[in-house]
């Protein structure tokens, strides 16, 4: 029994830390309807700013806090001014990509300035500890809880009782109406970003002190946990975000208590999916609240896509097929093989996210399912590789659709977050289900690619095989989009109420599109596994899901040629920038930002 008190205390302590992150994310989401992927980077910058202040200027804690808030707020203003304001009026998907780009740039800058080594941030003032149960809590735990509660209280007061706060709430409810009533919407966004980022930076500092540890790589995990916590509490709901964070901390702690450490995140993400499916507004939303995200037609705004004539496409395919003959350099071929494999992933996501509007943030899970299925079929049961890849595609279509089916009733960001969670769940199941997947040891000795008993053992043959698979699936997708079915799918995306009133069974069409898309992703994962000969749970990670989305947004949502162009660019650019060594990811992030800035509808345009 005493242990349960300890688990509860520990859960609240860690929830406390998540709350600091979640409040900032909730505030930005509430007003700007945006998951700010750069929030974790602001948090990292906050930790380093505090570190500099303490070590170089010897500032006491209160002064350090003020410095960090100011740095964070300024950074928030910059992010808003250069990353998001130029994109106003475009679909919500463009700013999402912009925040991803900003987070690349910020993380890299921090890494270049401060080296990637982890650092210590000693907090000698706050070492006092109090006995609670059989463990102790430190003064710093109380400071963190205090900062969380005070900032939530201040926010509540600000939103409720000040004119600017009213303006923020009005903008959150209806941006256009607020603007017509004379609210300076830009000022509102600026304020929100400054407050949220100031808070994010402080949380970086406090968490750095708490663990006496911080490094530039911690930003992604911070964003992830913050997003989960605020969705559990109710997106955009500040008190809800705090409650959601505490709940998340408790679930993790009890999950460890019951099943062991390696199951920790599994429970967190299962909780998230359950909450989303049962109460899409979050656990703490009032019933009177307006329906979540009345944004039919605004999440993905159609634009005029660039029409490539079929003859040009055919020409491009032929040209691609001739590469190994004209320019037989293995490095170029390997890079293009990667590009074709990503293009398959892009085709999959562009259909699911672009055409049907289910923006998935967990697409790497489909690659993993495909990769493991094919690898294990070929290795354990001796299934010929060609057949194994095909079966893997079909199995991925089936399993992927089944996993996502309960989430089909969700829309916009809610569905994205559900898929993010499902992606993490798949990866954790792979890690823990050792009897089948071999856990962290991974699957090695996967047979190399072969077709009808014919070994594809040259770079050239692998190149032609992946290109052919990609071209065939792309052609099928073209055919699908041009058909009656394609129009139905777009109708579901653009206005699901109207679509339903025309007698379209939404779930069925969504499931159909999802399974077609999952097939392509599964095949891509399967081919990858046979090329690599070794995969484990880290081969298809969450960063890959983000990359998939980047490919699709960059190419143009729902656009088949866009997915291919996007993947060639995103695979090619980091290779081209190789000469820049350590600076290459920084340059890549900047190019990404410029592309979003000047082509927010995607290079080839949204279909």
């Amino acid at each position: 029994m005493a242990s349960w008190i300890d688990y509860t205390v520990n859960g609240i302590i860690i929830g406390n830390i998540y709350a600091l992150l979640a409040v900032g994310l909730a505030l930005i989401f509430g007003v700007s309807r945006l998951i700010n992927f750069a929030h974790g980077s602001v948090y990292v910058v906050g930790a380093y700013a505090g570190f500099l202040a303490v070590t170089h200027m010897g500032t006491p804690l209160p002064v350090t806090l003020v410095i960090v808030v100011v740095v964070g707020a300024l950074l928030g203003l910059l992010i808003e001014r250069f990353g998001l304001r130029p994109l106003q009026g475009y679909a919500h998907i463009a700013p999402l990509l912009a925040t991803i780009g900003i987070s690349f740039v910020l993380d890299q800058l921090v890494q270049l300035f401060f080296s990637p080594d982890p650092r210590a941030l000693p907090s000698s003032l706050l070492e006092t500890r109090f006995q609670v149960g059989s463990g102790t809590i430190g003064a710093l735990d109380l400071v963190i809880a205090g900062v969380g509660l005070i900032s939530a209280g201040l926010l509540y007061w600000f939103l409720r009782f000040t004119r600017l706060g009213w303006a923020v709430r009005a903008t959150a409810q209806d941006r256009d109406a607020a603007q017509q009533m004379g609210v300076d919407v830009d000022a509102v966004h600026r304020t929100v970003f400054a407050i949220a980022s100031g808070l994010g930076a402080v949380s970086g500092l406090l968490v750095g002190m708490y663990y006496n540890y911080f490094d530039p790589a911690m930003s992604f995990q911070a964003t992830l946990k913050g997003v989960v916590a605020q969705v559990v509490g109710g997106v955009g709901n500040v008190p809800g975000a705090i409650a959601g964070s505490l709940l998340l901390g408790l679930v993790e702690s009890y999950g460890i208590a019951l099943f062991g450490t390696s199951y920790r995140n599994l429970f967190a993400f299962i909780l998230l999916v359950v909450v989303l499916v049962l109460r899409p507004n979050g656990l703490f939303a009032s019933r009177r609240q307006t329906p979540p995200e009345p944004m039919t037609g605004t999440f993905i705004a159609p634009s005029r896509p660039i029409n490539v004539p079929p003859k040009a496409l055919l020409g491009a395919a032929v040209a691609a097929a001739l590469v190994p003959l004209v320019f037989p350099h293995p490095y170029v071929m390997q890079t293009l093989i990667n590009a074709w494999l990503y293009a398959l992933l892009g085709l999959s996501l562009t259909l699911i996210a672009g055409t049907v509007g289910l923006v998935s943030l967990g697409h790497a899970a489909l690659l993993a399912i495909g990769g493991y299925t094919s690898a294990l079929l070929a290795l354990t049961f001796g299934v010929p590789v060609g057949l194994a890849i095909l079966s893997a595609g079909l199995f991925t279509a089936l399993l992927g659709t089944m996993l996502v089916f309960p989430s089909f009733r969700l829309r916009g960001h809610y569905l994205s977050i559900a898929t993010l969670a499902i992606g993490e769940i798949v990866s954790l199941v792979i890690l823990n289900w050792e009897s089948v997947t071999r856990g962290p040891i991974g699957v090695s000795g996967i047979p190399s690619l072969s077709l009808f008993g014919l070994e594809l053992d040259t770079d050239r043959s692998i190149y032609w095989f992946t290109l052919a698979v990609m071209v065939v699936l792309a052609a099928l997708q073209f055919r699908l989009l041009g058909s009656h079915l394609g129009r139905v799918l777009r109708a579901v995306r653009d206005d699901d109420v109207a679509a339903r009133s025309y007698g379209i069974g939404l779930d069925r069409y969504k499931a159909l599109a999802f399974s077609v898309g999952s097939f392509a992703a599964g095949v891509s994962g399967a081919i990858t596994a046979h090329i690599y000969s070794y995969i484990n749970h880290e081969t298809f990670n969450a960063q890959l899901s983000i990359l998939a989305l980047t490919i699709v947004i960059l190419g143009g949502m729902g656009n088949v040629t866009g997915a291919i162009v996007g993947s060639v660019l995103l695979v090619g650019l980091p290779e081209v920038f190789r000469v820049a060594a350590e600076y290459r990811v920084l340059i890549y992030g900047l190019v990404l930002l410029l592309l979003v800035r000047f082509r927010p509808q995607g290079i080839m345009g949204t279909v």
């Binding site: 242990s3 300890d6 688990y7 520990n10 859960g11 860690i14 830390i17 890299q108 080296s115 990637p116 080594d117 982890p118 210590a120 500890r129 059989s134 463990g135 102790t136 430190g138 968490v207 663990y211 006496n212 540890y213 490094d215 790589a217 911690m218 993790e252 702690s253 460890i256 208590a257 062991g260 450490t261 390696s262 920790r264 350099h329 293995p330 490095y331 390997q334 990667n338 856990g439 962290p440 040891i441 991974g442 090695s444 000795g445 190399s448 090329i531 690599y532 000969s533 070794y534 995969i535 484990n536 081969t539 695979v571 980091p574 290779e575 190789r578 000469v579 060594a581 350590e582 990811v585």
Partner: protein, 385 residues
């Protein structure tokens, strides 16, 4: 290729500086350099390890090129960043394979990235030397996969003997990184600990990016161990040690040799005081190559070397020796690795490969304890009071 030029300049200028101070008789290397390809993380979540590799490599190159290089030609490396991502490591592999200047490849860091590239290196008959790849299947990728990474089958029984036989632990709680390395190590450690007569009362695997261990430690406490074994890297070991102390547990902590780094003490502070660990080498070691390595590392970088610095340094020295003795082309290096004998090494004392497994056995082990904020030789006291 600016990268090449920069490296070349770096190598040559370092050689020139050394030439000025080198004892008479050692001619600095000049002429067209011989290149090794390095595939590893310079950006992304594992970037810190790539940075440590570079320090070790550069230190070794100063020494090699200051004393004649490879038969008069300087040795240099081309470091291609892969973020330790398999998609990039396969592309880099193709790049190296197609570049006739590259005579052997070192890396990558994590198993998924290294082993995905193995088929390419094997097919092209270019040696892939995975010096941090302890995955038991790494060298099974083919006869061009070699590794001087310390085998866990070698290392973990030593840790177990330290914890059980010498420190007197009887009920051990094991916390391990849930990666291929941590998983393999844990299996071998648990088995060895049982053979020595101890009981493993709890085994908890955690993910590399985990920062909070409080609830895990409640589980550990409830298993009533008399000591904790950490199969961790230094950064997570520091986090765990702090939280063990904060949650009021007064258990002795033993940690795998991978925590040996000045960073452990910087990050862990008072909490790592009294941690028992081991290392491949120790600054006060009587072996001349260790003293020399530590002294020159401190002179060049102003800090103590850690395990990853040492692996990288050893590897570069080994490759130079192989090339000096057997020739600096792809085939000679492959054949030479099988023939080379007793290369001076910080980690092994002397490196000789087992031709069957293409690995090195017999890593040195020094038993240490953290005392007054420094790693010191273990004085023979038991941990269990």
């Amino acid at each position: 290729m600016p990268v090449l030029h920069r490296r070349l300049l770096l190598g040559v200028s370092a050689a020139a500086v050394l030439a000025a101070i080198a004892p008479a008789g050692a001619e600095p290397a000049k002429g067209e350099p011989i290149y090794l390809g390095v595939s590893g993380p310079l950006t992304g979540p594992n970037a810190q390890y790539g940075a440590q590799w570079k320090m070790g490599f550069d230190l070794a190159l100063d020494e090699i090129n200051g004393s004649g290089g490879i038969k008069g030609r300087p040795l240099a490396y081309v470091f291609e960043d892969t973020q330790s991502d398999p998609r990039q490591s396969v592309a880099v592999a193709q790049k190296f394979v197609a570049d006739p200047k590259i005579v052997a490849e070192l890396g990558d860091f994590a198993s998924p990235a290294s082993m995905a590239a193995s088929p390419i290196y094997q097919k092209a008959k270019l040696v892939q030397f995975g010096f941090t790849n302890s995955h038991p299947d790494f060298t099974k990728g083919g006869d061009y996969m070699w590794s001087n990474s310390v085998s866990q089958a070698d290392e973990q029984p030593l840790s177990a003997a330290y914890a059980v036989k010498r420190l007197g632990l009887k009920r051990i709680a094991v916390l391990h990184l849930n990666t291929d390395w941590g998983r393999t190590s844990k299996e071998i450690f648990n088995k060895a600990a049982k053979e020595y007569g101890a009981e493993v009362v709890a085994t908890e695997g955690y993910l590399p990016d985990e920062k909070d261990f409080r609830s895990t430690l409640v589980r550990v406490r409830d298993a009533k161990p008399d000591g904790v074994m950490l199969i961790s890297y230094y950064s997570d070991a520091a986090l765990i040690a702090r939280q063990i102390r904060q949650s009021g547990l007064k258990l002795p902590i033993v940690a795998a040799s991978s925590v040996y780094s000045p960073k452990l003490i910087e990050l862990g502070g008072d909490a790592v005081e009294g941690i028992f660990t081991a290392s491949r080498y120790f600054p006060d070691d009587p072996r001349p190559q260790v003293r020399d390595f530590v002294a020159r590392f401190k002179a060049k970088y102003g800090k103590e070397p850690d395990a990853f610095n040492a692996y990288a340094y050893d590897t570069m020295i080994l490759m130079a020796q192989v090339m000096r003795e057997f020739g600096a082309d792809r085939k000679s290096i492959h054949d030479g690795l099988a023939k080379v004998k007793d290369v001076p090494s910080v980690i092994f004392g002397k490196t000789t490969f087992d031709i069957q497994t293409r690995r090195v056995t017999g890593a040195k082990n020094v038993e240490l304890v953290v005392k007054d904020g420094r790693f010191t030789l273990w004085d023979g006291g038991t941990a269990v009071r």
